[in-house]
């Protein structure tokens, strides 16, 4: 049987030749992402914005009457409700901010959800309430703080680990690649205004972990080649390392994607955002470990001596004694 080879054996793509244009584009993309996050903002779900979210299914209809719901629920005087399709065409999510007076007052929050559900079921008796979430401003504030902490902690802890296992330049490179991945994911969520929830933070943390897999594999090979080819120019050596590991990079990204795509397409609606973030992260992470994590090593001054242990005085004396020097 002839086996499949996604990357031909003699592949030698000059990745590093284009490192400056790619870097410029990536830095611009990072900047654009942050600009989007700051101007357009993230579409915070109840987890982070607080408020009330009801999701439900219209059991006997093809499409959820979203326009009609905006009219009916919009006139209840509950501020500006956010009504979106959620998963299947006949599923919706209705989100409202809690008025100040209803904060922490279960009776008031109850009344609001009952009011919304009654309004919808009056016109559509087939409406099935699937979930009903209320998050107070206090709790959503805590969620925002812990989410930020978790992301920063993860990035720093992982960069520190890489530093310990490799060299500081590799730690910085990995950190930069992670920053790139997180920024672009946030940018996408700001651009498409997809709901940003705790699940998305979980997805980003998972991306951080998996994007790093690629980076580590490339770095591991760079380290190995640095010891093996002491005279090779660094850009050339990086290209060699990336090409040598390219088959593995492509294959692993591919298996991740083909495992995740069915979940994205046929999986539970409430996982869509999370899985979409991870899928996006697989692409961004693969790219960043080739184009962000590797070239930065050139600028940070890695050379072939980085992994040669420095000789101690005792070593030198030893060698002298043996007449090697």
């Amino acid at each position: 049987m002839k086996l499949l080879k996604l990357v031909p054996d003699d592949t030698n793509i000059k990745f590093l030749k284009w490192r400056i244009p790619f870097y410029v584009v990536s830095v611009l993309l990072i900047a654009a992402s942050w600009a989007l996050v700051l101007t357009k903002g993230l579409n915070y779900g109840v987890d982070f914005a607080g408020g009330q979210e009801i999701t439900g299914t219209f059991l006997e209809e093809q499409d959820a009457p979203i326009g009609e719901l905006r009219d009916t629920v919009g006139t209840l005087g509950l501020g500006d409700p956010v009504i979106q399709r959620f998963g299947e065409a006949n599923q919706v999510s209705i989100r409202v901010r809690l008025p100040e007076s209803a904060e922490g007052d279960p009776a008031a929050a109850n009344r609001i959800s009952t009011q919304i559900i009654d309004t919808v079921t009056a016109e559509h008796p087939d409406f099935r309430v699937d979930s009903n979430n209320t998050v107070s401003g206090k709790v959503s504030g805590e969620f925002r703080a812990t989410a930020l902490q978790a992301l920063l902690f993860a990035m720093v802890a992982i960069a520190a680990y890489i530093w310990i296992r490799f060299e500081w330049q590799f730690g910085v490179g990995a950190l930069f690649a992670l920053f790139h991945d997180v920024s672009l994911t946030l940018g996408m969520f700001a651009l498409f205004q997809m709901e940003f929830s705790l699940q998305i933070i979980a997805a980003i943390l998972a991306i951080i972990g998996y994007s790093l897999n690629d980076t580590i594999v490339v770095y591991d090979r760079i380290r190995e080649n640095l010891k093996k080819y002491r005279r090779m120019h660094l850009p050339e050596l990086l290209d060699l390392s990336v090409n040598e590991t390219l088959a593995r990079t492509v294959m692993t990204s591919l298996t991740l994607l083909i495992a995740l795509l069915p979940l994205l397409l046929f999986g539970p609606a409430s996982l869509f955002g999370m899985v979409a973030a991870i899928v996006l992260g697989v692409f961004v992470g693969t790219y960043s470990s080739v184009y962000m994590a590797a070239p930065i090593l050139i600028w940070l001054g890695v050379d072939s001596n980085s992994f040669v242990p420095e000789e101690s005085v005792a070593d030198r004396q030893d060698k002298k004694a043996r007449g090697e020097i």
Binding site: A109, N110, D130, K138, A202, I208, G209, T252, G267
Partner: protein, 532 residues
């Protein structure tokens, strides 16, 4: 590297099969089959987002506890000083800023006052509860100590948790989880609840019941303007009562607190057939209620629940039976809820619901089915690609993959962890990523063969050289997973649990097991060429 003696092979297989078998009860449960009672303990728990149910986070306000302590300290101080022989006169009492301060009429009595009050400063517990200081020679200031307050908040939360548990048990829901979280929070999780509104009403009710005499001298015009006579206070009527929006002037002192009840039941008034709550006092409470009603026949008294008047009926006759009826605009449900709350005792602090998540039972079932289908298709595609790319080594990788999925579920069942909706995503991610180790190994073997190494040497180097990157990659994933677990809440933790267990099992299956199989094949067939 490729040496696997018999004992090693047997023990590796034993671990694998044992953990894989542990997954079977969970698989049966997830697919909706009845699980024999004998193995029910080895099922994974289903998170509320998959099983349906309510998650409610309650929070108490510690400053309320501080206020209550100050109030009761004021009462005891007044009592102690007036019981002292001779009585110590005080004035200018203030409870501002969380401190009790008062002036002695006679500054020369300061030492005696201090002596009288000292026993109050150390409560029943071992910690010192109050600090006493003297200002300007004649003013005594009592300040709560931090330990004293912490202890009081802790006690209050402990008993609040008990009250919450009794109330939920009274609703007859199955397997509720009620745990304290942090200093001032309680988490309540009730699976498969039909009516979350009822539960929330019940938890939001402090159920502090008081009976106070109505101030007969209060002028309706004064009450309307918000003016109360000295010794009286204005209390609003409850929103559901017949007089919502009005106030009642009641005497501050001389009432009875409803914390001495032995029973409370929802019933119907015999004349009006209106839903009411029947309460029974304990002996002491009954005696005091009998006295109050005997001394005040013909006068009105207010039934006050959580600082709101429910109703203000007449004492028509002395009530000596030790039981009474509370009426006031109840529905059967609200009367029943109040009865449960009163039976379980009043909450020592108000609890507010700061987070609530309820998932309907149908959604979870749909999610499991959709997740299982997606996982099936995904695995199948991964298997096809792996076998097409790596041939025999791909077959090993996919068997390892299948065992890995079973083992993750088996370990989860064994450790009694919870499978949540994001946990399903964790499974799929584990499937996609677990083969990474095999990809690394197989690509390395390809490379080594290309460089001209012989079969056994290539395989050996492949496993050896790849394992460094596999190790580092798993450690960093582990760091991310642990942070996810530490910072995440319920459902997210479920995701972290799957990822973390998956890291360990996937290294075991994808590296150790496949190496054993490859070694066996190499030893038996001694192939001179391998297709990787």
């Amino acid at each position: 590297m490729l040496d696997f003696p018999l004992w090693k092979r047997i023990s590796l297989w034993a671990v694998t099969l044992l953990l894989a078998l542990l997954a079977l009860p969970s698989i049966a449960m997830l697919s909706g089959t009845d699980v024999p009672a004998a193995v029910e303990n080895y099922e994974v728990n289903l998170g509320l987002d998959l099983a349906g149910g309510s998650h409610i986070l309650l929070e108490a306000d510690p400053s309320q506890v501080a206020g209550q302590r100050l109030e009761s300290l004021e009462e005891s101080v007044r009592q102690e000083l007036s019981n002292a022989e001779p009585r110590i006169q005080i004035g200018d009492v203030s409870t501002a800023d969380g401190r009790l301060s008062f002036m002695l009429d006679d500054p020369s009595e300061i030492d005696r006052a201090r002596e009288v009050l000292t026993p109050l400063m150390n409560g029943n517990s071992l910690v010192r509860e109050w600090d006493l200081s003297v200002v300007d020679g004649n003013r005594i200031v009592l300040t709560q100590t931090e330990q004293g307050l912490d202890q009081a908040v802790d006690d209050a939360m402990e008993s609040a948790t008990d009250v919450v548990r009794r109330r939920i048990d009274d609703l007859g829901t199955r397997e509720p989880t009620i745990i304290r979280q942090g200093d001032d929070r309680i988490v309540v999780q009730v699976p498969g609840l039909e009516d979350p509104e009822q539960l929330k009403d019940l938890l939001g009710q402090t159920a502090r019941l008081e009976f106070k005499l109505v101030d007969a001298n209060a002028l309706p015009s004064d009450v309307a303007q918000g003016i109360a006579n000295p010794g009286s206070e204005l209390v609003p009527y409850a929103e559901d009562s017949d007089f919502a929006g009005n106030f009642e002037a009641v005497r501050r002192l001389g009432g009875i607190r409803g914390d001495s009840l032995t029973n409370a039941q929802q019933s119907f008034d015999q004349q009006t057939n209106e839903p009411v709550v029947s309460i029974t006092f304990d002996a002491q409470g009954g005696a005091r209620f009998a006295q109050l009603s005997t001394e005040n026949v013909g006068r009105r008294f207010a039934i006050i629940l959580d600082d709101e008047v429910i109703s203000a009926p007449n004492f028509n006759e002395p009530i000596l039976s030790g039981s009474a009826q509370i009426s006031g605009g109840f529905t059967v449900e609200s009367a029943n809820a109040l009865a449960i709350s009163l039976r379980s005792g009043a909450l020592p602090v108000d609890l507010t619901i700061i987070e609530e998540r309820t998932v309907g039972p149908d959604l979870g079932r749909d999610s499991i089915v959709a997740g299982a289908i997606a996982m099936g298709i995904g695995s199948l595609m991964v298997i096809v690609v792996m076998i097409a790319t790596y041939g025999r080594f791909g077959v090993y990788a996919t068997i390892a993959l299948a065992l890995n999925v079973l083992m993750v579920l088996g370990v989860m069942a064994f450790m009694n962890t919870t499978l949540t909706l994001p946990g399903i995503a964790g499974f799929v991610l584990t499937i996609g990523a677990a083969v990474d180790a095999n990809v690394l190994i197989n690509e390395r073997i390809r490379e080594e063969r290309k460089r001209g190494r012989r079969v056994v040497a290539a395989v050996e180097t492949g496993y050896k050289e790849a394992s460094r990157a596999i190790y580092d990659a798993n450690v960093t994933n582990f760091i991310a997973g642990v942070l996810l677990f530490l910072f995440g809440s319920g459902p997210i933790r479920g995701f972290a649990v799957v990822l973390i267990i998956g890291l360990f099992t996937s290294v075991f299956t994808a590296v150790t097991l496949t190496r054993m199989w490859v070694a066996g094949w190499l030893r038996n067939k001694r192939p001179s060429e391998i297709h990787v």
